[in-house]
Amino acid sequence: MTTTEVPTAGGSPEPVPTSAAGNPIGFGRMLRKEDARFLRGQGHYVDDVNLPGMLHGAVLRSSYAHARINAIDTSAAEAHPRVKAVITGKTLESLNLAWMPTLSGDVQSVLATDKVRFQGQEVAFVVADDEYAARDALELIEVDYEPLPAVVDARRALDPDAALVRDEVEGRTDNKIYDWEAGDAAACDEVFAKADVVVTEDMLYPRVHPAPMETCGAVAHMDKVTGKLTIWTTTQAPHAHRTLYAIVAGLPEHKIQVISPDIGGGFGNKVGIYPGYVCAIVGSIVTGAPVKWVEDRSENLMSTSFARDYHMKGSIAATRDGRILGLQVDVLADHGAFNGVAQPTKFPAGFFHIFTGSYDYPAAHCKVTAVYTNKAPGGVAYACSFRITEAVYLVERMVDCLAFELKMDPAELRMKNLLRPEQFPYTTPTGWEYDSGNYPRALEESMRIAGYEELRAEQAARRADPAGKPLMGIGISFFTEGVGAGPRKHMDILGLGMADGCELRLHPTGKAQLRLSVQTQGQGHETTFAQIVSHVLGIPPEDIEVLHGDTDNTPFGLGTYGSRSTPVSGAAAAVAAQRVRDKARVIAATALECSPDDLEWEHGRWRVKGDPEQGKTIQEIAFAAHGSLELPEGVEGHLDASVVYDPPNLTYPFGAYICVVDVDPDTGEVKVRRFVAVDDCGPRINPMVVEGQVHGGLADGLGMALMEVIAFDEDGNNLGGSFMDYLLPTSMECPSWELGQTVTPSPHHPIGTKGVGESATVGSPAAVVNAVLDALQIRAADMPFTPAAVWRALQGRPLRTDLAIE
């Protein structure tokens, strides 16, 4: 791996002092605190929670994609000697829990009552002494299904003869969920009419799945004496879950404790509330014992939040010499059987309308139509930044299609149209205000690392040889992300504003505890958030304990997804530390018998201006704050601060990626030879952690481009229901990633940082796809580029990759 740095205009950052333990007192490479337990097998995940008397739950799932339920006979299961309870939709109806609200204003079935609407849907829940007995009992439940025609192809969902997925909704006659649009259609029509060139292309971003290594699960314990519900669960948003449980189940919110222990990867899969969680709670209420439910891999892939499934048609208009004039998009969005996407309320298509990307042109318009199908619900997951993955894929493919038609180098075309540094802050044609960026510098840097000219020369030489194999392809993508949702006045989820709370408490000896509302799933918050406080207060990061994931012990906030931890909670932590520092100044001035204005800050210490020997360290001030020092009127003792941070805008990280592939035209096999990723996420709190985040996202992108897909057959059978069928990239497919960086701080974030967790997942698929198509020298075909898909594309008959191969 190569790492290079292009410093900011101001030169290198100030050197950061080192603590006695060898850690940077602030930003810099620091080994992770959390590793100590994970490396010893002492991580504590949901499935590691074991309580006295705990029972085990298992879910009976539909084998049909669409079928009416005539009857469910649970008598044999109930007679099983180790079964404690069998719960069906009927049981839940009596508790008014058979249906629950989704995060998008729809409802979804907890346990099916009238009919099943996708294969793998939850039908019954068994509670037994152990997991094996619970699963045995599932086999004893008899469900009388009456199969119905399934809506499998989203492109047929609005046909007049299509089956009705949601016939339980009174007055509903079709499968449309919504039509939504953004941008200016008239302005688009105008530029398209006078453009030299218009290129139109259909493309599919297929249904994929986040598939974290740890599946979803919960341990629910309803204490009948205290009336308190404690639920250990795989959630990226523990506070939102607590509120939703209160709303869904009618339980008093102050009697609900959600504990999100160590989480084995989330990627958006662990944002929503799944029926299994609710069933575990009901199981505990019914049996009076704690109930554990952990899904298996097939359940995870078949029923929990999928991602993408966007059928897109793009049209790009340009001048003959490659100046982009406008972009129009029509989207058909497959939302599955329930509209269960997790995104801010005002944005039914997420942030898709950021699709204008990184380029300077005046006209853009998109129209999104969402439909119900007989597939699992979900849609916003897999590190997608609320559908910016789909948006970036669309624009980066369209730019390559334009380059193909103009016979222009795709790097040259991009460079010609990228936003210039002096245009920031930049308001896009669809209303986003990009905070900061230097896009040409990032593209130049990626081309420098890749040796772009040499690569093109090698490719030309290979193409000149008619027997030349393998086929070499070079693909570029440039992305602008928008992360850190978000400003309260614009963004909420189910009415909950997307601000984050944070509490910082300094103990008398100067050690600190930081309480966060966000929840790590591997991002390293215990380390990097300590570094944020360390950066502001000069306390060694090893002296700062980061607490999160327990709603009884942390302030309210909306959780970790959409790369929002650093932009929102990171800002909250920085502001809390700044407030502590401000209060420490007053206390130091009191102790030093001077005015606060006479003091100046040096890292970790307030000192007297002009007399630097006179001063108080933050540790000394913390003790004085808890001591007998008489404080000025209006200044309370102790040294702590709490903050609710309402971000003024999103942060907009960006990057330039270049992928080099070799394709075997005889077998269709694609080998990723090199991948260069230049990311700009502002200053890096911990460069090691940032690089790790980028590495993981690049593997995601490679996986989606080459192998990951949840396809269906004509009956609605899920063809990606195990890791034998849903292929994840292994160490063999992934190249050694080559990273670079530029640094453009966010002007509105207290420490200039931007989110980065999803950048590479968002930015990389288009680079791989563009590289494959460049190798094949064809304009378009859909991912994933499995050998079969490559072969068919070479034959001029590209596959419909979301359906079973005919």
């Binding site: 097998g41 991580g43 499935d47 590691d48 974290p212 891999r297 790790g692 890791f723 034998m724």
Partner: protein, 173 residues
């Protein structure tokens, strides 16, 4: 049925169902939750442990198959009280994020390093090709293994032989 399995050098035993998976025996009977379950189909490798010194997927191994044999899990890697150089390498090179695949990765790579103390990148990638990771893109796992190889001489020589009997197990069967 009754099984007796040596786990990390300690004798364990229980009356179990013949169908009980080894991963569940380790997690639920012995109480060692460092071994994770991830897929059911031997694809992900989160459940990798050693059976008589050889890495196996404990989600598709029956406890009954381990009866009379020796199992080693992640909890034994720092049995000497100090981190194994491989664990140290994972920390130094940021070879883990969520930590869920890590125990399986460690057991697979420790076996590799025992047989090949200085593996190149391709060898390391081949060794972990049956262990999936969703967080790291594998880059830093490869680097962690290389770190361990580079630091094995110093750290390894001082390490006492772990009390598992690993290599000198009764390979009789």
């Amino acid at each position: 049925m009754q099984v007796r399995i040596t786990v990390n050098g300690a004798e364990t035993g229980a009356e179990v169902e013949p169908r009980l998976l080894l991963v569940h025996y380790l997690r639920n009977v012995v109480g060692l939750t460092g071994t994770h379950w991830g897929c059911d189909t031997s694809n992900c490798g989160a459940c990798t442990v050693w059976l008589d010194g050889v890495p196996v997927k404990s989600c598709t191994t029956l406890a009954a198959q381990a009866d009379g044999h020796a199992v080693r899990t992640v909890e034994d890697l720092d049995a000497g009280g100090e981190l194994d150089p491989l664990q140290r390498g994972f920390m130094e090179e940021h070879g883990l994020q969520c930590g869920f695949c890590t125990p399986g990765m460690l057991m697979t790579l420790r076996a590799l390093l025992d047989s090949d103390p200085d593996p190149d990148e391709t060898t390391i990638r081949e060794a972990i090709s049956g262990n999936l990771c969703r967080c790291t893109g594998y880059e830093n796992i490869v680097r962690a293994a290389r770190w361990a190889a580079a630091h094995a001489a110093a750290g390894g020589a001082e390490q006492p032989t772990p009390p598992t009997g690993g290599a000198e197990q009764e390979v009789t069967a």
